[in-house]
């Protein structure tokens, strides 16, 4: 009898060990994400900030306000890239949000079920297409088109970047807007119709405003995608070595492409400066992320539309 009890205890303890062991494994796995974020920040920042310290330091001010990128002569200015990145993102959002939102309205409010079942897989496909393919498309179709209308006779331009980025943010904006429009309670629609509003008025005056948090989240996600996009943009941006863009036909060199273009052969300070570009890009992304996290928290707390 006594032995039995101790055996049971032993078995119980073994079970407990196992439970604790796995609990730790699960916890450690979850902590991998935290470690990764820390590691990414530490590694990228440590290397990217190196050129601005020490006895041979490069002036951070001339880095951040410089208008010329000439690694061979130790000139590293990225202001024109920052401007290029921001303009491209702004353009893509200015075009992509209205188009995406209206498409989402069509899918959620107007289209019959049958048409939705055809369009939605199409949008999902658009979301799954690799950025390199968008780049190829931009290079094969958009750049030649712009070539024809551009006063500079140069297709690779800010405009080309904006066009391709617009297309690339569309799926994100459409699918998130659609689901937040669908989440608007029926009672708002009824109330609006009950006041004598037409379908279109109901959509734009009651439903879309009620879905605004979701649409805003979609927009911020779109900004993140646009500012971080690399491969597609690199093929069509022109990647000039200096100078602020003066029109939509100007060449640009967004931050991301600066990194990707030269990383494969850069070394020493040049490589560090590419990481410094990464640090600037990262800072923008962090801003976007924080906004996004606050937005989703708000969504989670209030519900989008209570």
């Amino acid at each position: 009898m006594k032995k039995n009890v101790s055996n049971q205890n032993k078995a119980g303890r073994a079970v407990e060990y196992k439970e604790t062991l796995f609990r730790m494994i699960f916890l450690l796995s979850a902590l991998v994400s935290v470690l990764s974020v820390i590691a990414i920040i530490v590694f990228v920042f440590a290397k990217g900030l190196r050129p601005f310290f020490g006895k041979d330091a490069y002036s951070f001010l001339s880095f951040i306000t410089g208008l010329k990128w000439d690694p061979n002569n130790n000139v590293f200015g990225i202001l024109y890239m920052i401007v290029g990145s921001l303009l491209a993102t702004l353009g893509a959002i200015a075009l992509g949000v209205p188009i995406g939102l209206l498409t989402a309205v069509f899918i959620a409010e107007i289209a019959p079920k049958k048409i939705v079942s055809v369009i939605k897989p199409g949008i999902e496909l658009l979301a799954g297409i690799p950025s390199v393919i968008y780049g190829a498309f931009g290079l094969g179709i958009i750049v030649p088109l712009i070539n024809k209308i551009s006063p500079t006779g140069q297709g690779q331009s800010l405009l080309a970047v904006i066009c391709v980025l617009t297309i690339m943010v569309l799926p994100t904006i459409i699918s998130l807007s659609e689901s937040s429009i669908r989440a608007v309670p029926k009672s708002y629609r009824e109330a609006s119709y009950g006041l004598g509003a037409s379908k279109i008025q109901t959509i734009f005056k009651a439903v879309v405003p009620a879905a605004r948090s979701g649409i805003l989240t979609a927009t911020v996600l779109g900004i993140g995608r646009a500012i971080g996009e690399t491969m597609a943009v690199m093929m069509i941006a022109g990647n000039n070595i200096g100078g602020l863009p003066t029109s939509i036909f100007s060449k640009v060199r967004p931050l991301t492409t600066n990194i990707a273009m030269e990383m494969s052969y850069a070394s020493g300070r040049h490589q560090d400066m590419l990481f410094a570009t990464g640090v600037v890009l990262f800072t923008f992304i962090m801003l976007v992320n924080f906004t996004l996290i606050r937005l989703t928290k708000r969504l989670g707390n209030e519900g989008p539309l209570r």
Binding site: L27, L31, I167, I200, N289
Partner: protein, 384 residues
């Protein structure tokens, strides 16, 4: 209500309605134009060879045992001593046909390993003579009269995507093998164990941040940590490790969604029968979440297949079937990175588009698969 207002409203409604249609039309036509463009450019380059061959031409010296005594006069270009038929190529001989018991099936390379010659291989050197120095008839005669061990320089034509395809699969498997268990375990922790507090908050914060970091930053990080600091060089392991981090948010959140779907009653039922937490997770929760986990895997595969910025500086752009996990021989281009390389380095949009067609097919298949799983899953819970 006065008619002026009424007409105004109708006009505004009509205007907005046409804007909606216009925007939708734009979206749809973009999709069609992109796919149409890729197919138009890419389809002509797709053929059996494209799908089955190596990317680079491969030149090898082989030894074959020729037997001049084997007589026989076949068609034009038939070489009885070797049992093959050749035709005149561009300063070389192209093998057009190989008999079943041909000696070239027993060919060995310089390391004495078997190297089976195939149709379309070209012979550029016979013994000590380069084919470009010989006339076609002389070359034929030289081959026909050979007896005993004969050294041939053979070039196998490339132009196919096999190495990229294989590398893509290797990287998919490797990345999933790393990120899958970690991501699923993390989701289990978050959904089954974690209590609200600082740890949970920071984990969630980290995941949300990871999800927002662009690929190129992952590429930079992977290059710095795995390629340089850990000395893995451009390799599939460095690439896969980088991708694993990039995939974590997708895997964790999709798995978590699936875990949340499992009704509380299942868990209670299991605990009620005296099962421990771990047993409940292993026997009840994970099997129930399997469709969701599969969807997570498919989403991850899609992401890997489409990824380029995070891979070019970690896995490289060499078209070869990787050997080993780290080091120079394990450097490998996936289909997508090769496509990028083609456009950037050679401007060859047509070959790039041919790869793009393959990519599109893969993406569509993955989309269908994830849809089918979700639908199947919905049906099941609907009945249950």
């Amino acid at each position: 209500m006065n008619t002026k207002n009424w007409n105004n409203r109708k006009m505004k409604d009509g205007f907005l309605r046409s804007l909606i249609y216009l925007a939708t039309a734009v979206t749809i036509s973009i999709l069609f134009i992109i796919i149409g463009f890729i197919l138009y450019k890419g389809i002509p380059g797709i053929n059996f060879n494209f799908l089955t061959r190596n990317w680079d031409n491969k030149t090898t010296f082989v030894n074959v045992k020729a037997d001049a005594s084997k007589a026989g006069d076949g068609a034009e270009g038939y070489i009885s001593s070797l049992g093959i038929t050749v035709k005149e190529g561009d300063k070389n001989l192209v093998i057009t046909k190989i008999e079943k018991n041909s000696a070239v099936h027993k060919a060995v390379n310089m390391k004495n390993e078997s190297y089976d010659l195939k149709k379309d291989d070209t012979i550029t050197k016979i013994g000590a003579d380069n084919t470009e120095d010989l006339s076609y008839t002389d070359a034929l005669k030289l081959l026909k009269d050979s007896d005993g061990t004969l050294r041939l320089k053979v070039t196998r034509p490339g132009g196919g995507i096999v190495p990229m395809f294989v590398s893509t699969i290797y990287i998919i498997l490797l990345s999933l093998a790393i990120a899958g268990p970690i991501g699923i375990s993390a989701a289990i922790y978050l959904n089954e164990y974690a209590k609200p507090g600082r740890i949970l908050r920071s984990i969630r914060f980290a995941i949300q941040n990871l999800a927002g970091i662009p690929s190129i930053i992952y590429g930079l990080f992977g290059m710095l940590l795995f390629v340089q600091t850990l000395k893995m060089q451009y390799s599939i392991l460095a690439g896969s490790l980088t991708l694993s981090i990039l995939l974590l948010p997708t895997i964790i959140s999709t798995t978590e969604e699936a875990l949340k779907e499992i009704p509380r009653s299942y868990r209670e039922g299991s605990y009620g029968l005296g099962a421990t937490k771990l047993q409940t997770i292993a026997k009840i929760i994970l099997p129930g979440a399997l469709p969701g986990i599969l969807v997570a895997v498919i989403l991850s595969i899609g992401r890997i297949v489409g990824e380029s910025a995070a891979l070019i500086f970690t896995a490289g752009t060499v078209a070869q079937i990787p050997e080993g996990l780290i080091g120079g021989k394990s450097s490998a281009a996936t289909l997508t990175t090769k496509m990028y390389w083609l456009i950037k380095e050679t401007g060859d949009l047509s070959s790039a588009s041919s790869i793009a067609v393959v990519l599109l097919v893969l993406i569509i298949l993955l989309n269908i698969a994830s849809k089918m799983i979700t639908r199947q899953f919905l049906k099941k819970t609907g009945n249950g």
